[in-house]
Amino acid sequence: MTKKTAIIASNGGLFEAYKVFNIATAAAASDHEVSIFFTFEGLNLIHKEANQQLPMPEGKEHFEEGFKKSNVPAIPELIEMAQDLDVKFIGCQMTMDVMGLEKDAFVDGIEVGGAVTFLDFAQDADVTLTF
């Protein structure tokens, strides 16, 4: 039976973006069915403009060179790869309402739903992660 991986992304920095999308693409490449629920600051990770310039944690800016040297893919590339691998992105409706954001502010192909949408997927997941 196909394994399922359920991820909650609730933080909006560059480090979180890598944690979320690396695990998601690796799981999908291992033939897991993957859903990510983006809530609160986590929505930055799939926001069309914000995801191009996610902030490094304060005081960690010196890692920028390491990212370049290690040839780590950019976040928009990882998003495209994740979507190619059929990773499902769910934007949190409640956060979008609070922040006054519409679906078209986000990368194409996302679903919008509430907590129950995610819980329904996560209830029989083999791996559940929160970032």
């Binding site: 693409t25 490449a29 291992s30 033939d31 780590v72 691998l85």
Partner: protein
């Protein structure tokens, strides 16, 4: 060791070697062998785990300077 296909994943960081391996393997037939060349030091543990979880067989791995080479038979 003979391979039906060779994947050059040199210079790529995690999770790219795995993503590319999966993509190549998808187009191959069961029993065919893919040779993967990588420089990501994590690839050794990752490809071993990936092959195991996907029902493939890691036939051999070699170190050639900075390059790690793997031969995986599709399950």
């Amino acid at each position: 060791m003979n391979a039906d296909k060779v994947l050059d994943a040199k210079g790529l960081a995690c999770p790219m070697p795995i993503v590319k391996t999966r993509k190549e393997m998808k187009d191959m037939d069961s029993g065919q062998v893919l040779e993967i060349q990588a420089t990501d030091k994590g690839a050794s543990a990752d490809l071993t785990a990936w092959a195991k979880s996907g029902g493939h067989e890691l036939l051999e791995q070699q170190v050639d300077g900075d390059v790690l080479k793997f031969w995986i038979k599709k399950g």
